[in-house]
């Protein structure tokens, strides 16, 4: 068989996972292209570089020699255009490159909503290494007060980053609660409270950005709030109202685009031998119940990469994700979620929420009112065992079962207090139930864990 050259645009988690899984199964040439960095690094760790927890090189998941050893060619350049007719990739600097199969894994770019003054200096999002550099440059110039617009995960990270450098942070959030479009009320309030009380963030809820004012040098000096007309002075403005697929260079190329690059469940685009995955891909049909048609998280990019790597090696594999999960950290509060927990429950669903009386530790369960089937779990300040949650949610286990074996589910380090007793007690009181908390059993845990062995 003739060997075929796979060219992957984007060296993020999606592109790199594709390459790795393809390489496991095939010896054909692979090239990964990125304009951002020479090597794959962890985008999720950008904040830690800024805060001094790590250096850039510590965020690279593989040693630099890994790529050569695995015969994966790397090229650092920006792709400006793709000629699908002749199967050529055109670059900003170097010569065009021929491909047999093309993978588009170009990720996202920060949203900007056409605010007046948004091109001022000191106004930026946070997505790339270049963004990090410009933040550093702003710090060098001197930043005393920053405003951040958009209450999502990247916004909190930016707030934490800026505060680590002694910058005062004012956080404008459109919703009536922090991350209110994702978190139920109690959780959103707890996080908001943590930010305000423990980290002195000036959190302004239900506030939208109206316009941005700059000084004579063109550097941001203040922002105006739409609702109140209030002017907030600042010398840095972080824009983090979400991200959208990074596909501008593909406009009018004949590739089927909407918000992202349109793909089917095999991650195939409308062009033959051209695939897209990760943040930049948009599914024709959402990949599962409740799932969005653009999934912009690390884990989904990785899972899509696993599938595409297989597909490219001749073993056609659809992207069929299992139970949803995600995690994040809001300053000091760790958050994990499994299954579906929405801000509001549907008619036939019931929710149970427990919070530690003093600490920011909380647990929420969502389950079917009739059958008690567990649908989703939010955990704050409690680590849970992913495998066990995956098992109970996919096998339609009940909330009662989860609570009964709560001690098996907890993944906190040794010597941490287990709150199972209080949680079960509160559940029993609230629902007039008689769940009995069992002690931890390795036998039970083992059976589930070992299912994932081969």
């Amino acid at each position: 068989m003739k060997s075929s050259h796979t060219v992957i645009i984007g060296n993020g988690i999606s592109g790199v996972t594709t390459a790795r899984h393809l390489r496991k199964r095939s010896n054909d040439p692979i090239t990964i292209i990125s304009g951002e960095s020479d090597h794959f690094y962890s985008r999720t760790a950008l904040m830690y570089i800024f805060m001094g927890h790590m250096r850039y090189k510590d965020t690279k998941p593989y040693e630099d020699s890994f790529w050569k050893k695995n015969k994966i060619n790397l090229r650092k350049d920006w792709v400006t255009k793709i000629d699908f007719e002749n199967q050529l990739v055109h670059f900003h600097q170097g010569n065009p490159m021929k491909y047999d199969k093309l993978v588009l894994a170009t990720g996202s770019k920060p949203n900007k909503f056409g605010w007046t003054g948004q091109e001022s200096l000191g106004v930026q999002g946070l997505y790339s290494l270049q963004d990090l550099e410009s933040m550093e440059a702003a710090m060098k110039r001197g930043v005393k007060k920053a405003v951040i617009v958009g209450g999502g995960l990247i916004g909190v990270e930016m707030a934490e980053m800026l505060q680590s450098r002694g910058v005062e942070v004012c956080f404008l959030v459109r919703e009536s609660r922090f991350w209110g479009n994702v978190l139920p009320r109690e959780e959103a309030e707890m996080i908001g409270h943590h930010m305000v009380k423990d980290h002195h963030v000036d959190l302004r809820l239900e506030k939208n950005l109206d316009s941005i004012q700059a000084d004579e040098e063109g550097w941001v000096k203040s922002v105006k709030i739409k609702e109140t007309g209030e002017i907030i002075e600042c010398d840095f403005l972080g824009l983090t109202p979400g991200v959208s697929p990074n596909i501008d260079f593909l406009k009018d190329s004949g590739l089927d685009l909407d918000r992202g690059i349109m793909v089917n469940e095999y991650l195939e685009t409308n062009k033959e031998n051209v695939y897209a995955l990760g943040d930049c891909a948009q599914f024709l049909r959402p990949p599962g119940k409740n799932r969005r048609n653009i999934e912009q998280v690390w884990y989904t990019g990785r899972m899509m990469g696993e599938c595409l790597g297989k597909t490219l090696s001749g073993n056609k594999t659809p992207y069929k994700p299992g139970v949803w999960f995600n995690s994040a950290k809001f300053f000091d509060i760790e958050y994990q979620t499994y299954g579906w927990v929405f801000p509001r429950q549907e008619e036939d669903q019931t929710t149970f929420f427990w919070k530690h009386p003093k600490k920011d530790i909380a647990l929420r369960l969502v389950f079917k009112t009739q059958s008690n089937q567990l649908l989703g779990v939010n955990a704050f300040g409690i680590r849970l065992r992913h495998q066990l949650l995956d098992e109970i949610l996919s096998s339609k286990g009940s909330a009662r079962e989860f609570l009964r074996y709560f001690k098996d589910y907890v993944f906190d380090p040794e010597f941490f207090t287990n709150h199972g007793r209080e949680i079960v007690k509160e559940y029993n009181q609230e629902f007039e139930d008689f769940v009995e908390l069992k002690s931890k059993s390795w036998n039970r845990i083992k059976t589930v864990l070992n299912k994932n062995l081969r």
Binding site: M51, D58, K60, W298, M303, F325, R385, H386, D390, E414
Partner: protein
């Protein structure tokens, strides 16, 4: 708050400066009495004449002048004896060590007379200053949580010049301690009263070392308590490891001596405690009645039963991070430098060679010693047992474990010795790797490959490499400090003891997705 911190730093540095400069203070004059007290009859016999001429009752400003005179007459006497071929009279002891003991006897004047004042100004200032520097962090660093901000932006923790100076200072201190103890005469004098109170004996350089070790570990443990107060695992571990240092390594041995029992650190297991099976130690224990015999049996039980059994149940962490003195210092004084461990594959390869070679060396040395002890010969295969032991003591015991082990903290990380050199760690590592219930469980697919775990692993384990592919971490070198688990922002890692079945999951399925795994295609 900030000003308390700064004042603390100034006080600490004054204490440290004084502690260092005190080597230059005081005066020294050796009396006949002191001379006789320190030396053996044979030495007195050899040296008396020369000493009366050019050592005794002479007034010195500095210890090294006294030492240089002593070493001169020592050499001269030995040369004469060799020339006369009076071989039996030739002296083999270390003149540096004797000089130290003589200098201590010879001391008089302002340091000796004002010991408590100097003690307070050096140790007291050091401790008070350090605490003033660290305690405000309770407030300044904010709520409990990960406190790694600016580690790579600060000179001290990012291999800046302060780190280099610290490294050379530490190395210098160890070199003096091991090889030129007479330069530390005044420092030893300062803790004389403490030693007298504990064991009834005047302080030796080893007492000074043990005292400093304990004080530094205790002070830096306070820093650990503040920094990791969100993690009960870290709090308990730090408390326990300091307890073992204070009780087992420092107080109990001194108290044993007070009651005329052999000096013994009951937690110090062979082969880290490499001279446990040396002839002199065995003889000493046997000669010391029931207590001595108990100690001998305990030492054997510890190394042969307790160490492997505990390592089976808990992994080697039970020792390395909870009990051991070297580990204890690494986890307290060394914590600010943990990120400097080398994570490269090359370092891993080097580690496996070096640590196992040291283990082999220790085993061979001990075997040779025991063979000699049994057979009454002092040579094995033509090599002097004593020479093997001396070489080991110098290369491994002093240079590797001490000078490099601690000296290298600020630049190469806090576990250089534990990772590359400790034979006990190698021994327990084999158990941990092949027959143990301990593992670090990886939490399904939750890893975001951020790299915090690998960065802060003091043993240079690329934890992320395992975590991001959903694989448990089962590595011989893991000392179970638990910091990878603490710093992980996504709750991916858990140190735990559980059934052996499934502990090593080489080809895990990354949870969250039913179709794909890293397994080879043939297995799919």
């Amino acid at each position: 708050m900030k000003s308390i911190k700064q004042l603390g730093l100034i006080i600490f540095l004054s204490g440290l400066t004084l502690f260092t400069l005190i080597s230059f203070f005081g005066s020294f004059s050796l009396s006949q009495e002191g001379f006789e007290k320190v030396l053996t009859p044979k030495q007195i016999n050899n040296l008396q004449g020369l000493a009366s001429e050019n050592l005794l009752n002479k007034e010195y400003r500095f210890t090294w002048q006294l030492a240089s005179d002593f070493k001169m007459i020592f050499e001269e006497s030995n040369q004469n004896l060799k020339a006369e071929e009076s071989w039996s009279k030739v002296m083999y002891s270390d003149p540096n060590e004797i000089s130290g003991n003589l200098a201590k006897e010879a001391a008089f004047g302002m340091v000796k007379d004002w010991r408590w004042l100097w003690f307070f100004l050096s140790f007291g200032f050091g401790i008070i200053g350090a605490l003033m520097y660290m305690l405000p962090d309770l407030k300044l660093l904010g709520k409990p949580g990960i406190k790694n901000n600016h580690i790579y932006q600060r000179n001290v923790t990012n291999r800046g010049w302060i780190a280099w100076v610290t490294m050379f200072y530490l190395i210098g201190f160890y070199l003096l301690l091991y090889f030129f103890p007479y330069l530390l005469t005044n420092q030893i004098l300062l803790v004389d009263d403490v030693s007298l109170a504990l064991s009834g004996n005047p302080a030796s350089r080893w007492f000074l070392y043990g005292f400093m070790y304990t004080v530094i570990m205790g002070t830096m443990a306070v820093r650990m308590f503040i920094k990791y107060r969100h993690s009960p695992y870290q709090m308990v571990r730090t408390g326990v490891v300091f307890f073992f240092q204070l009780g087992f390594a420092f107080l109990i041995p001194e108290i044993l001596v007070r009651f005329n029992q052999p000096y013994m650190d009951f937690k110090n297991a062979w082969p880290l405690n490499y001279n446990f099976f040396f002839e002199w130690n065995i003889n000493n224990l046997i000669a010391n009645g029931q207590m001595g015999q108990f100690m001998l049996v305990w030492g054997i039980v510890l190394a042969a039963i307790i160490v492997p059994v505990f390592s089976y149940f808990f992994g080697k962490r039970w020792y390395c991070s909870w009990v051991c003195g070297c580990g204890g210092l690494a986890e307290t004084l060394g914590d600010p430098y943990r990120q400097h461990s080398d994570k490269s594959l090359f370092a891993w390869k080097f580690e496996r060679w070096s640590i196992h070679l040291v283990l082999v060396f220790a085993v061979v040395m001990t075997g040779a010693g025991l063979y000699a002890f049994n057979s009454g010969l002092d040579q094995v295969l033509g090599i002097g047992v004593h020479n093997i032991q001396k070489t080991y003591g110098f290369l491994i015991g002093s240079i590797f474990a001490g000078v490099i082990g601690t000296g290298f903290y600020p630049i190469f990380g806090n576990r250089v010795w534990c990772r590359f050199g400790c034979p006990l760690a190698a021994y327990m590592g084999l158990i941990q790797r092949f027959k143990s219930r301990f593992r670090i469980t990886t939490n399904g697919g939750q890893c975001i490959s951020c790299g915090n775990c690998s960065t802060y692993c003091e043993q240079g384990i690329d934890v992320r490499w395992y975590a991001q592919r959903g694989q448990n971490i089962v590595r011989s070198s893991c000392v179970g400090c638990g910091v990878c688990s603490s710093v992980c922002p996504r709750g991916v890692l858990k140190l735990e003891n559980g059934p052996e079945e499934g502990r090593i999951n080489d080809n895990p399925i990354i949870i969250g997705h039913k179709h794909a795994s890293l397994a080879k295609p043939s297995l799919d």
